[in-house]
């Protein structure tokens, strides 16, 4: 039933492209890529119990790893994507090792400082990164079965975003149901107790941060390939806060929460910003009300009230 629900969600997203008007077509493609980022964040916050305030470091590592190799090295899409993923995984492993002895507020602060250091590095090495201004990638194509597809094509963009999101969603579902996923949840519940059952908790924590970084980096790499832009904004603190809000709104520790949270918040900002300049006040109030109604987030609230089987 659980797998069926997730496949049904992916089928709905696939079908939506046939009916959505052009603006929302692009919007939903963007939401899917950002939801993949939130899935990466959720692996750490929702399933391992570690709240990061520096996740932009992973998103940006994937983005810069991919973007720089295309921009300066002339790499193709596949090779650039591999470099982006390797960069995100490496950064994830390093951050995991550096934070292995921290928890709670200390983990939050250390991740924030590391992300700020990365952000400042993107500004400092501006000859390479073009700093705040960033750079635009040339038109890119992927070749499949001998046929070239332009990533700028809205249909290609939508379906690549869907494939990446689907892969992240199903991978996260598989992970949380696996023995490794169970250990991560046990870590969230009580780290000392988990160690006393015989688990090397430090190793699992590093693994969790590295996997979270890899998924977030995949989202960053995909974003840069589909939307053809790399800039230090994506390494800034706002892009560390966004996945936290999306995950909390949708439901931390639920596989579908990141999609729901990202979708709701992106559209809430889009709709309210068309009505007033003070749209963040309205979005903030809506967020507060939602969290008051469902402290565990939208999907978390549904799970608590009606569908306890939701993963």
């Amino acid at each position: 039933m659980t797998l069926g629900l997730h496949l049904a969600v992916l089928a709905v997203l696939a079908a939506l492209q046939l009916v959505l008007p052009p603006f929302h077509h692009g919007m939903v493609a963007r939401v899917m890529v950002l939801a993949a980022y939130a899935i990466g964040y959720n692996l750490l916050l929702g399933y391992t119990g570690l709240m990061s305030l520096g996740h932009a470091i992973f998103f940006a590592a994937g983005m810069y790893g991919t973007g720089l190799t295309v921009h300066h090295g002339g790499f193709g899409v596949a090779a650039a994507l591999v470099v982006g993923l390797a960069a995100a995984l490496a950064v994830g492993a390093v951050v995991g090792v550096m934070t292995v002895r921290t928890a709670g507020p200390a983990f939050l602060i250390v991740t924030m400082m590391l992300a700020q250091a990365f952000y400042l590095a993107t500004l400092h090495f501006n000859e390479l990164t073009l700093g705040d201004q960033g750079f635009i990638l040339p038109a890119l194509e992927v070749t499949l079965a001998g046929r070239a597809f332009a990533l700028a094509d809205p249909a290609v963009k939508y379906n690549v975003a869907l494939v990446v999101f689907g892969a992240c969603l199903l991978a996260s579902l598989g992970l949380v149901r696996s023995p490794v996923g169970r250990v991560l949840v046990a870590l969230r519940e009580n780290e000392e107790r988990t160690r006393l059952l015989g688990y090397h908790t430090g190793r699992y924590r590093v693994l969790a941060v590295a996997l979270s970084g890899l998924v977030s980096g995949l989202a960053g790499a995909t974003y840069t390939l589909l939307f053809s832009y790399v800039g230090s904004t994506f390494a800034g603190v706002l892009y560390s806060i966004y996945p936290l809000l999306w995950t909390l709104l949708g439901g931390a520790g639920t596989t579908l929460g990141p999609l729901v949270g990202t979708l709701l918040m992106t559209y809430a900002i889009d709709v309210t910003s068309g009505i007033t300049d003070a749209y963040l006040v309205i979005v903030g109030a809506a967020l507060v009300l939602t969290i008051l109604w469902a402290p565990a987030g939208v999907v978390g609230g549904l799970r608590a009230r009606w569908a306890r089987w939701l993963p």
């Binding site: 023995p179 169970r182 250990v183 949840v185 046990a186 519940e189 009580n190 000392e192 107790r193 988990t194 160690r195 006393l196 059952l197 015989g198 688990y199 090397h200 908790t201």
Partner: protein, 235 residues
């Protein structure tokens, strides 16, 4: 497997808590560890598990020195630990709590069945979140989870705390069943009568030192020992 502690010392930071602790738990034997509050009973268990580092002495399980091992290695060698207050994973179900124990040493359906045979009441609770169970059921889950690791030696820290008398009696029966299966048990308990009723041997600890080892019959013959070292007068 025999667990033995030889002249173990340990400290919390600058404060030495264990000065000289020696005891032995043989297979199929229940050893009670009795002492006043603050005597070092819980610290002894935490030192065996590697949560508090032994600064001197030896902790040996079947010839393997435990004192220098990281904490996560100790359960893998065959020591189960049920801490005071149970410390379950409250948001996981009973089944998931048990699975966490089963996965550690790759134990399968046999181990799960054996454990549920010891705690049949848990069969109806497998899908329930552990945090929503009664105190007695939570204690059963805590012990079941520790037993899923298939320990040769089980360390229990005040397992009867907060349980009503009928549940205490049932729990002590379970300890007897574990003894019959060859599991060695080190039992820390405040309820002196419960320990004397089930233990094969009792170790008295005072100010971080093991001061006397005796059988329950010997302690019954010398009630002043309990009064002096545990502060309990028995009739």
């Amino acid at each position: 497997m025999t667990l033995s502690l030889e002249r173990v010392q340990a400290a919390h930071g600058e404060v030495r808590v264990l000065h000289d602790v020696s005891l032995e738990v043989a297979p199929g034997q229940i050893v009670g560890l009795l002492g006043r509050n603050g005597a070092g009973k819980t610290t002894t268990l935490r030192t065996i598990m590697g949560l508090v580092r032994a600064s001197a002495g030896r902790i040996v399980l079947d010839g393997v020195e435990l004192a220098r091992l990281p904490a996560h290695e100790v359960p893998r060698l065959g020591i189960g630990y049920v801490p005071q207050g149970r410390r379950l994973f409250p948001h996981l179900t009973v089944e998931e709590n048990m699975t966490m124990g089963l996965l550690v040493r790759g134990a399968g359906a046999d181990a799960r069945r054996d454990v549920l045979d010891l705690f049949p009441a848990l069969r109806d609770r497998l899908g329930q979140r552990a945090g929503t169970l009664s105190g007695g059921e939570q204690q059963m889950v805590a012990m079941a989870r520790a037993l899923c690791v298939r320990p040769a030696v089980l360390l229990l820290d005040e397992p009867t705390e907060g349980l009503m008398p009928t549940l205490v009696a049932r729990l002590l029966d379970t300890l007897g069943a574990l003894r019959a299966r060859g599991v060695g048990i080190l039992l820390v308990e405040q309820k002196v009568d419960a320990v004397l009723g089930v233990a094969d041997r009792v170790v008295l600890i005072e100010n971080g030192r093991t001061v006397r080892q005796a059988t329950p019959a010997e302690l019954a013959a010398e009630p002043e020992l309990l009064l002096r070292h545990v502060g309990v007068r028995r009739r």
